[in-house]
Symmetry: C2
Subunit: 389 residues, 2 copies
């Protein structure tokens, strides 16, 4: 049993959307195919992975550092002790060899794509959906039958009007979502308040609406938005300021009574620990949103869950960012608080299996081996290009 080849390439997820910080007109991701010599159903098992959106493809790091370290390793050193599967932890340690501590950025994104391909292969070799394998191995066999999902949307499309924003949100509600999310901070406060109120006309209760500033605000702005929004009793107020400005979050949490969410731009369990130590977040209401496909993969996310609980927080306060199938598998099998969803953007990487419905704001798992990428037709077509099929 061995890894025969690892292919990677860049794929475009360009979009005309923008948030308060960046536009996505040239956004790319890395996609990875990990080909094994294990045969299931008459074909070699191939694990597929991709990095999540927002931080660009990482082909340089994959080609020059991570992939050669795996290919040059003794195959025996990458196998589980029982010899019946690959060992994702040994593989992770192998591709991270001779990498210094700290500096968790693009490297974490490259690892996110590669580690996803490893876990997809491991679950396929075990002939189980990944969420079921996670439940059995790391969650005492417990899992959730359905997962709270919310669409990351409400961007500032150039020229978008309030009516169009309402139309988008009606679309999400018609598709079965209950909680929706919209961007703020890309306009002035008055404009954003009008946008929020327009969306509240569609979704009713503020508990059905999260807002996302994408790290744009300094402390006075974060506090001013918090003060202006407190009457809405929103589902959460996401990324109010720079993701590393823990003092800003701690100060906001003393003034803003409703929930705060952050973490999609923290890329390691070390950074998560600092958020929990210094960010002043409240374990009874706030949310932590690290994205496993941006932050060293599921292998590191298991450390994230462990560190979260070691700091006295429930894993239910974790909602992985990214809206991809890896996050959904994690939410099901490890019982986090939910998963983001991207039904409309970042295609074909956003969204879940084609035939799995969203009902009353929840979705369910798939029943095929692996992460489930084969169950999303446009995604699978993109991934198959890696192996020349």
């Amino acid at each position: 049993m061995r890894i025969v080849e690892i292919h990677e390439r860049n794929a475009s997820i360009s979009s005309s959307i923008r948030n308060a910080y960046i536009d996505f007109s040239r956004m790319t991701v890395s996609v990875v195919a990990l080909i094994t010599d294990v045969v299931r159903d008459g074909s070699p098992v191939i694990g597929y992975g991709f990095c999540s959106n927002g931080r660009y493809a990482q082909g340089g790091i994959l080609r020059e550092r991570f992939i050669p370290r795996i290919i040059e390793a003794d195959p025996e050193s990458l196998r589980a002790d029982a010899g019946d599967n690959l060992d994702p932890f040994k593989i992770w340690n192998t591709f991270m060899a001779n990498e210094k501590p700290g500096g968790h950025g693009d490297r974490a994104v490259a690892a996110g794509a590669l580690d996803m391909a490893v876990w997809d292969a491991v679950a396929k070799i075990a002939e189980q959906p990944l969420w079921r394998l996670l439940s059995a191995r790391y969650n005492h066999g417990q899992c959730d039958q359905r997962v709270l999902v919310y669409p990351g949307g409400g961007y500032y499309y150039p020229g978008k009007e309030l009516a169009q924003l309402q139309e988008e949100m009606r679309g999400y509600r018609d598709a079965g979502y209950r909680v929706v999310k919209m961007k703020i901070g890309g306009a002035d406060l008055d404009t954003d308040l009008r946008r929020i109120e327009a969306v509240l006309e569609v979704v009713g209760d503020g508990r059905n609406l999260a807002v996302d500033a994408n790290g744009r605000f300094d402390l006075p702005q974060a506090l001013a938005y918090g003060e202006a929004m407190r009457g809405y009793d929103l589902c959460w107020y996401e990324e109010p300021g720079d993701p590393l400005d823990y003092l800003l979050h701690a100060t906001l949490a003393q003034h803003y009574p409703a929930a705060i969410a952050t973490g999609e731009n923290l890329f390691s369990h070390q950074d998560l620990v600092n958020l929990l130590r210094y960010g002043g977040l409240r374990p009874d209401r706030d949310w932590v949103q690290l994205d496993p496909a941006l932050s060293y993969g599921l292998t590191e996310y298991l450390r994230v869950v462990e560190a979260t609980e070691a700091h006295g927080w429930s894993r239910r306060r974790l909602i992985p960012h990214g809206g991809h199938q890896l996050a959904l598998n994690i939410a099901l099998g490890l019982q986090t608080g939910g998963s983001e969803s991207y039904p409309g953007v970042f295609q074909p990487f956003g969204g879940f299996a084609d035939d799995v419905p969203i009902v009353d704001g929840y979705t369910v798992g798939h029943d095929t081996p692996g992460i489930g990428v084969e169950r999303k037709q446009d995604l699978y077509a993109e991934l198959q290009r890696l192996t020349g099929d």
Copy 2:
């Protein structure tokens, strides 16, 4: 006045050395040449840059993100308002456009190489040594005539014995250095104490010796080494633990009375601020060692100096890591506490101008325009390969 072309490629700085965390047998750096249409002394001005050691070349990020953004920008938008030079801040903002906040890792390294080339060009266009330009623009004309330097050495060469370690340290002392540094944490405590005592036989006073654990220790190990070393009254105890584990540093600082140093694996002013807020370091004795050629360049290092002083610390507590000429220019022109030096390793990128001596542990500046890479023959030869000369 415009940037005509930007070339980049990988260069090897492989070495058989290792520290407590990684080996350097496949270490690479990115080198950059920024060609302008400005003519000085009959030739186009070319700015050269390279990233510092330890975090690998970053060609993917340079080629796919940073360089295209500069080349596609309106040249007018990259010029200083007076029209007489390039503006490094405008260029930095241009290549960092559409980059999300947080995640300061490989991207910061790529920026370090590119930003160095920009500043080299700017100083050459201004016909001044970079340190003099920094003094005039950002330090009220003040500068240092000489800079404290220390060699980063004392690695665990495979098979190295105590006698060889002493020999290496005698070499540094003979070359004019007073303070030397050695690695710890790559062996057990007893072995490291024997190595420290062997070096103290050469350098005499503990104030002439710094030790560097390269982030290897957990808290109990960091405390145990601190307890065992306190009698030596060492110059400093560097990178005791994970660079992001601020609580470890704060705890150690309560137990270890002599100086602590850290920061070479923090890559942004945001991370520096967290170190100052939460790391418990003591402004009267401890040292902060961010490396400008790993952490978004001199442009970001000006923010580092500003944030350091805003937190009530003297810029004299900053000693840039890396042992390269950019760090030396910064130390001279901005009056930090000193600069690392690599007379023996990471060649040809480590070390200063060929004809500038080290005397009594200090060195002096160069007098030619730019950073001074043309004054280091082997480095200049390597950089010239970028433009096909």
